[in-house]
Amino acid sequence: MAPPAEVLAVRGLSKTFPGVRALDGVDLTLHPGEVHALIGENGAGKSTLIKVLTGVHRPDAGDITFQGRPVAFSTPMEAQKAGISTIYQEVNLIPLLSVARNLFLGREPRTRLGLLDFGRMHREADEALRAHGVRVDVRQPLRTLGVGAQQMVALARAVATDARVVIMDEPTSSLEPREVETLFSVIRRLRESGIAVVYVSHRLDELYAVCETVTVLRDGRRVHHGRLADLDRLGLVSTMLGRDMGEVRSEGLTKFTGDHHAAAGEPVLQATGLTVPHRLHGVSVGIRPGEVVGLGGLLGSGRTETAKAISGALPLRSGDVVVAGAPLRGGSTPAAIRAGISLLPEDRKSEGIVPGLSVRENIALAALPRLSRFGLVSEARVDAVVDTFVRRLRIKASSPHQKVGELSGGNQQKVLLARWLAMNPKVLLLDEPTRGIDVGAKAEVQKLVDELAADGLGVLLISSDLEELIEGSDRVVVLKDGAVVGELTGDDVTEDKLMRTIAGDPPAPGAVEVAATDD
C-alpha cells in the first residue's frame, strides 16, 4: 500500500524582505492526520512561512502543492476557502460582533431570499462551541468573553471551515491549563478525522504532548525535520539555538573579558516574585553592584517580560522591586527611572530611537528634566553630556547634529545606551543589546557592558546569542514558561549546562564531556 498522499507539500520556498532573507529554500511536508511542530527562535522564519502558506505574503521562489494541486494564494480568503485555516497568537476576531457572527463571518448561512439566517447561525454556533466545551451565549458580543474562550471561538471557526490543514501559531499563549487540555483534545480529534495540524509553540512540554513530527527553522533555513520522538529535549533546544552538542568551541569569540566582576555587597536591585498574568509566575532576580546577570531561556520564556516588569512597563499582579534598599511602586516607568533603572528595549526602532531627531537630541531626550531649570533646557549642560557620551561610547557620527536614522544599527544602539547612561542609572537592563548590529559594533557594545559593570553598575543582560550570554554574565538565571527554572553560577556558566537547564534535562554526570577536546 502506498503511503498516504501528502495534503500539503512545500518545496524550496524563499522570501526576501528588504535587507532580510526571511525564508531560504524551505521544504515542509504534511500528511493527513499529522500534527507537525514548527519551531525556531525569533527571526527563524516561522511567521513568514505561515504567512506565505496562508496567502498573506507571496513567495519569491518555490512552490506549494495542496491536495495534489499547485496553489498560489494571494489572499487569506483564498487559502481559507481552499482549506487552510489559521489561528493566530493574538486572537484575531472582531470584538464588537457577536460570537456567532464571528464564527460565521464570510460564510454566513443564508435564507432563500439571500438574507442571513440568524436562527440557523445561532443554533450551529452553539453546537460548534459546545463541541469544544465552551458554553456561552452566542448572541453576546465576543468582547464579553474571556481571552481563553475567545481563543476557543477562533479555534472553532478555524476547524468549522472544512479545513484540511489547521495552522496554530502559539495558540496557548493566553490559555489556562484547563483550556490547553481542551485544545489538545480538539487537536486529537482533528488528527483522527485526518486533518493536518501545524503547531507553533515555544513550550517544549506541549510539543512533546501533541506533535509527532517536527521542522526546525533557523535563519530562514530548515535545519532539521523528522519524528519528534527521535529528538530529545536537549537535542531540540540545541538544534533550535544552532549549537551542536559535540561541537568544539574556542573561547574568546566575544569581546567580554571573561573575568568575573568583583560583585559584592547588598543587591542594588532585588526583584521578588514578579507575577504578570499569563506571562510571569513569581520570577525573582537579584543584581549586585558591578555584576552582570544574564537571563537565559527560549523565546517566550519571559525574559523580556521580566525586564519590562522591573522597569515598570508591565503592570504587576504581585511581586516587589527594591532598588538600593528602597521599594519601588510597581507599574510606573517614571518611578523606575527616578529610582535609577534604565531599560534598553529589545526593539530599537519602535521603542527606542527617534530617527528624525539628531544624535544630540536623542541622547538628551530622557535626561531633559535633569538638564533644565525652570522648564528651560540648558544648552551648555546638554552639550557637555552629549560630548562626554559620544566620546566615551565612541559613537561614530559626522556631528552631534546628524540624524540618528542615518547612523548604522550599532551606532543607533550606542546612542540609546548613551541616553540611558545620561540618567546616571544604578541598574541597566539590556534586552538583546547586540541584535542586528554588525560584528565590530557588537564587540564594542560588549566591551562597554564590561566597563559599565566595572564602574559599579548592576547589569541585567538578555541575549539570544548564547556566547554573549555565557561570556558576558557572571551569573545566568534561566527562565522557562515565565518561571525561574535554574541559576548557573561560577564555573557552571557554560553553554552545555545552560541548554540542559533550558531543556529541563538534569545534567547527566559524565555523560557528555563537551569541553574534553577543547584546547
Binding site: 472582531i94 460582533l97 463571518l105 464570510g106 439571500g114 442571513l116 453576546q140 513569581g282 522557562k480
Partner: protein, 344 residues
C-alpha cells in the same frame, strides 16, 4: 543518553492561577450600556418632543410636523450613507458638496426628462463615491483627506456648471420629478416616503446581508477581518459609493422639492450628517451602530432647530449652540459608556 525528563517546576510557590478569563463586566450592565448607547437618542427625542408639544401650541400641529419631516428627509438620506461609512471606521466629507452637485445636475437634466434628472446625479455622485472608495481602500489614503479633496472638487464642478452660481436651473411643474419632490401620498410628503423606504432597505442590508456583516467587521477590526477572509477593500469601495449615491439622490430630491437646483445648499451638511450619525449611537471609531439611530439623530437635530425657532425671542444662531452642545454631551457619554464596556 536517555531523556529522563524531570519536569522543572513551572509553577512557583505562592502562584495563583490567573483568572483573567472572567468576562468583562456582567451581562446585565453590558446590556444596560448597550441600551443607552443604542436608544439614548430616541429617549431624548421623545422627551424633547413631549415637552415641546406641551409648551408650544404650534409644535404638534400637522403642518409643523410634516414640515419637519420633509426637511429632515434630505439630511436623513445623506446620514444613511454616512452611517455605513462611519461603521467601517471611515468618514465622508464630500457629501455636502455632492448634495449640492446632485441638486444642480438634477435641475439641469430635468429638461431632458425625469429619468435623466434622476440618473445623472446618481451616476456622477456615485462615480465620485467610487473614486473616494478606491483611493481609501486601494491606495490606503486617509478618508478624511480623500473626501476633503472630493468635497472641494465637487463644489468646483458645481460652480462651473452654474457659471459661479449665477445661473439657476429650474425644474418644470407637472413633471414626475416635481411630483416626487413636492407631492404627497396619504398626506405624507413623497420625499418622506422615499426616505423611509431607503431606511428600511438600509437596515436590512446592514443587518441581514453579508455585505452588512463585512461593514461591521471592517470597522471592528480591519486586520482581523482581512485575515478572516472578509473582502475589506471591496467593502470600503462599496460604502463610499453608497454614500455618494445617496448624497446625490438627496440633492436631486431636494432640488425637486425646491423646483430648482440651488447652489448655496449643502455647505456644512457633511458635518450635520456626521453629528446625526454619532448622536444616533454609531461609534466614530467604527464597528458599532445602526441606521435607525441615525434617523433618530437627524430628527433630534431638526426638532431642536424647530423648538428654537418656536421660541421667538431666541436668535436662531442658538440652534447651532444647542446642537453643538448636544453633540458634545453625546460623544462624552459614548466615550464614558465605551470605557465601561471597554470598546477601546
Amino acid at each position: 543518553m536517555t531523556a529522563t525528563k524531570t519536569d522543572a517546576p513551572t509553577t512557583a510557590p505562592g502562584e495563583q492561577p490567573a483568572d483573567e478569563t472572567e468576562p468583562v463586566g456582567s451581562a446585565r450592565s453590558e446590556r444596560l450600556s448597550a441600551l443607552v448607547q443604542q436608544h439614548g437618542a430616541l429617549a431624548v427625542l421623545v422627551i424633547v418632543s413631549l415637552v415641546a408639544s406641551l409648551s408650544f401650541d404650534s409644535f404638534a400641529t400637522g403642518d409643523n410636523v410634516s414640515n419637519m419631516a420633509t426637511s429632515s428627509a434630505f439630511l436623513a438620506i445623506v446620514a444613511l450613507g454616512m452611517t455605513f461609512v462611519i461603521i467601517t471606521g471611515g468618514i465622508d466629507l464630500s457629501v455636502g458638496s455632492l448634495f449640492a452637485l446632485g441638486g444642480v445636475l438634477a435641475a439641469w437634466g430635468s429638461r431632458h426628462g425625469t429619468l435623466v434628472a434622476l440618473l445623472l446625479p446618481l451616476a456622477v455622485c456615485g462615480l465620485i463615491g467610487v473614486v473616494n472608495g478606491l483611493l481609501v481602500a486601494r491606495s490606503r489614503l486617509a478618508p478624511f483627506i480623500v473626501t476633503l479633496a472630493a468635497m472641494l472638487g465637487a463644489r468646483g464642478v458645481m460652480l462651473a456648471l452654474t457659471d459661479e452660481g449665477a445661473e439657476t436651473y429650474l425644474i418644470g411643474k407637472d413633471s414626475f420629478l416635481a411630483d416626487l419632490g413636492q407631492g404627497s401620498t396619504l398626506g405624507v410628503g413623497n420625499p418622506v416616503w422615499v426616505t423611509l423606504a431607503l431606511f428600511v432597505a438600509g437596515a436590512v442590508v446592514l443587518r441581514r446581508t453579508r455585505f452588512g456583516q463585512h461593514v461591521y467587521a471592517v470597522g471592528g477590526n480591519e486586520d482581523a477581518a482581512a485575515l478572516m477572509g472578509a473582502p475589506v477593500a471591496r467593502t470600503k469601495v462599496l460604502v463610499y459609493t453608497l454614500s455618494g449615491l445617496l448624497a446625490g439622490l438627496a440633492g436631486a430630491l431636494n432640488a425637486a422639492w425646491l423646483a430648482s437646483g440651488v447652489t448655496i445648499l449643502g455647505g456644512g451638511m457633511e458635518l450635520e450628517a456626521i453629528s446625526a450619525v454619532v448622536i444616533g449611537g454609531t461609534l466614530l471609531t467604527g464597528g458599532l451602530g445602526h441606521v435607525s439611530g441615525s434617523l433618530v439623530g437627524v430628527l433630534l437635530l431638526k426638532v431642536i432647530q424647530n423648538v428654537i425657532n418656536q421660541i421667538g425671542s431666541l436668535d436662531s444662531s442658538y440652534q447651532q449652540v444647542v446642537s453643538g452642545a448636544f453633540l458634545a454631551v453625546v460623544v462624552i457619554a459614548q466615550t464614558w459608556l465605551g470605557r465601561r464596556r471597554r470598546l477601546g
